[in-house]
Symmetry: C2
């Protein structure tokens, strides 16, 4: 290909991808690369540009597509489109059909999370079966900026703010330096067709709200260069995050000892470290014992460090998913309880507490490591209920203040929305497969003694919105 | 004072301040504390609550106020108000009157920066003269959240994102855990009066835009608990920032050697460090040699590290304010040139380059470490020109594309807005006291050979907006 045959912008796009492959060492020469393709402009441009670089890098390219069956005919249309794209580029095509909506019910994940998990699982299987070395995804600079804003809004620490990494294990993102605009331009200039995912316009999804609403405000009214700015910040924070996590890992290698179902840390060494390192050591110890940091909040880290500094031998902190931190002499133990009954043994009774809420506003609930936000609003024609188990809308007249937030108790009964009758909370949790070790972290919002919301699980019938409802109480729970 | 005499909310406010003083070790018992008081609700509540804690902490309290003379009679009214407040609390009152607008013209700072510098200078003088140990300021949790958003929008790194520290040298912020709402409630419940600063409503000031516009959007549409979330993040990032900076300082202590007008670093040790630490070492070396990190951008750090890894002996990078990084054998030297002529010696000619801009958009200018953003807009009745030397509005018809961005050249002439005639750029820079070592970092935006903007200094007459102007080209420069 000589320069004269291609308009300059195309070369600049190709050049940026080429640079990313070389400079960031995303792929090695001769690598087998499976491109994850949804059929949208990003992944369409990705597989097109990779096929143009195929010879130069001696790549063996494949295309993978997951049909999530979430959008009916539209989903099938997309699958066909991607298959034809792969054929036109003369690249092997791998597809799987997953009923995400069904799979989701079992896992308790959100639709988005469940779809992502399904893709990850299929990509990983396809890599193994067909001998691919890498999965290439079409994430770009705007995606990363959006992700950083999401993290910021959700209250993430430095980890979340370090953004989407260009390379993460066997996953590579060759378009990470390109913007959405550059990608669309590339598609147009190369006469590429793509399909539109109708859910991209769904403003009940936070990611879409950020893309369609918040980012345009920031760009037009605050800093037109906010996307490159956020990408620069993500690069800085990511390197710092990797470095600090490395130091925490080194510390654990030197000073943590495996014990039954967990590990123990020498306190003498822990408390000598700078506070920032202590926090990362605790986070990583929890992740190591439990396998992930899901549900771990700032309050948990804070509580464990307080236990380390001020706790007496024998005192403990209960953490999500059956994890426990215990002070034993001059050591801190992290133990994962796999027995479903551990939290109900007499030595660890659930503490009795309640927080009374006098009115709307932001309520800190340190006992649960949560923040509860309540606010009133008019009921409009199509009031927006986000697809988020941590948020509910209730009829304000029937859910009137004062309200009480507290852990559920074995005697609690409630009428789940749509269930047609009252039942024990305990039965509901068992029927809905909430693992025993998680049940101690379930809370209720009540009005006098009526349960209005089994938090994170189900609204109760008495709180539901009716056609005659005029004002709404919206409640949302955040990790504190 | 017994609990019964005080409404509960007042106690909770007092309790939070007391906790901050104890737990964060903001003050020692018997400390002499000078409260900086503007007369607004925050600093009024601050001095009131400190006076209530005076006995308990054996504090010796004083009040300081700077009259910036920026708002005419309103400024004098505020000064009188603060004096009366101090009298009513029986606390010594220290005041200084500074003509900030005049002082600003000499320094080249923005009005806000100049006012802050004037306050800092007066507080520091008053502390010395009257033997105070601390200055207490009224910054609170909302201020910190706003500051973090400002940093994010301006494209700061982890340093800026770590927010306003509760304690910084001799400056303490006893209200850092309180929200604006809690402070106003405290003022009302204690029947405190305060004065309103009319510039708080001025939306051309970024801080006010964030407070009055962006933060309310984030709170109402994204996360009502964003303020506590940002404060938590600031706490995490601040501790990590302190820790990492400590490591960079340790490295410099071990591996940097002072040389004439600067310091030298052994490359063997530098390149062995993680990238994140290398970046912080370079930033800190620059700060040490130059006394500050103003004008230091990400690109400068990047360029110095490239010099360290790939530069030949003898190659160098020019940095702002007369700083130079030079590769000498297996060492990196940072040298501050105090001779105004260093940048013009034959060994360091200014490089010739130009960037041609074909249309509006975001233009990276790596040669200058800058991003230039241009966009077109309709001229409205009161179009907004921010008080920012890095931003201009031009008549789009007279400043039409293609435009050129390049360093100024000794032969350049231009007609400064309002100056009544053409002159040499060189003469303008000398007349306006731009230090010789900074003159190599001055750029021009031109249309063919006409200078439209001496960037960061002055718009040119040919680009100015006229009554008949219909469309505007707004250009803004950011550190890349």
């Amino acid at each position: 290909m000589t320069a004269g045959h291609v308009p300059p912008i195309v070369d600049s796009f190709l050049e940026k991808v080429r640079q990313a492959l070389y400079e960031q060492g995303l792929l090695f020469r001769g690598a087998r690369v499976l491109a994850g393709v949804s059929g949208g402009p990003d992944s369409t441009a990705l597989v097109h540009v990779l096929s143009r670089l195929q010879k130069e890098f001696a790549l063996q390219l494949g295309v993978a597509h997951v049909n999530h069956c979430l959008r009916g005919e539209e989903s099938d249309r997309d699958a066909l489109f991607v298959q034809e794209l792969a054929n036109s580029l003369d690249v092997p095509f791998h597809m799987e059909t997953v009923d995400v909506a069904a799979a989701r019910k079992e896992s308790g994940l959100s639709l988005e999370e469940a779809a992502r998990e399904a893709r990850k699982a299929f990509f990983s299987r396809a890599m193994q079966e067909h001998g691919y070395d890498f999965v290439a995804l079409g994430h770009h600079a705007d995606d990363n900026a959006e992700w950083m804003l999401i993290s910021l809004i959700r209250g993430a620490g430095a980890g979340g703010l370090s953004g989407i990494p260009p390379v993460n294990g066997k996953t590579v993102r060759p378009l990470f330096k390109l913007t959405r605009k550059e990608i669309l331009k590339y598609c147009r200039e190369n006469a590429l067709k793509w399909v539109q995912d109708s859910t991209n316009q769904d403003q009940s999804i936070l990611r879409n709200q950020i893309r369609l609403h918040l980012l345009p405000i920031l760009e037009s009214q605050y800093n037109p260069a906010i996307v490159p700015g956020l990408n620069r910040l993500s690069n800085i924070l990511r390197e710092e995050h990797l470095w600090m996590d490395g130091m925490a890992r080194d510390f654990l290698e030197d000073h943590a000892k495996p014990i039954k179902n967990g590990l123990e840390l020498s306190l003498v060494h822990l408390v000598k470290q700078p506070l920032a390192l202590q926090r990362r050591i605790v986070l990583q110890a929890m992740a190591e014992v439990r396998g992930n940091t899901r549900k771990t909040s700032w309050t948990h880290v804070h509580d464990v460090l307080k236990l380390a500094c001020q706790g007496k031998s024998g005192s403990q902190v209960h953490l999500p998913d059956g994890l426990e931190a215990r002070r034993v002499q001059r050591k801190l133990e992290f133990i994962l309880h796999d027995s479903p009954d551990w939290a109900r043994t007499p030595s660890q009774p659930a503490k009795e507490w309640r927080v009374v809420l006098d009115g709307p506003g932001t309520h800190q609930i340190p006992q649960a490591g949560l923040t509860l936000v309540c606010y009133e609003e008019e009921k409009t024609e199509n009031f927006l209920l986000k697809e988020d188990p941590m948020e509910v809308c209730m009829d304000l007249e029937r859910a009137s203040f004062p309200l009480t937030f507290r852990p559920w108790r074995p005697g609690d009964r409630f009428t789940p929305l749509g269930a047609g009758g009252a039942q024990k909370v305990k039965k509901f949790l068992i029927d809905h497969k909430v693992p025993a070790q998680d049940r101690q972290n379930i809370y209720v919002l009540t009005n006098e003694e009526t349960v209005l919301w089994l938090v994170g699980q189900r609204l109760a019938e008495p709180a539901k919105i009716l056609s005659e409802t005029r004002r709404i109480l919206r409640c949302k729970v955040f990790l504190a």
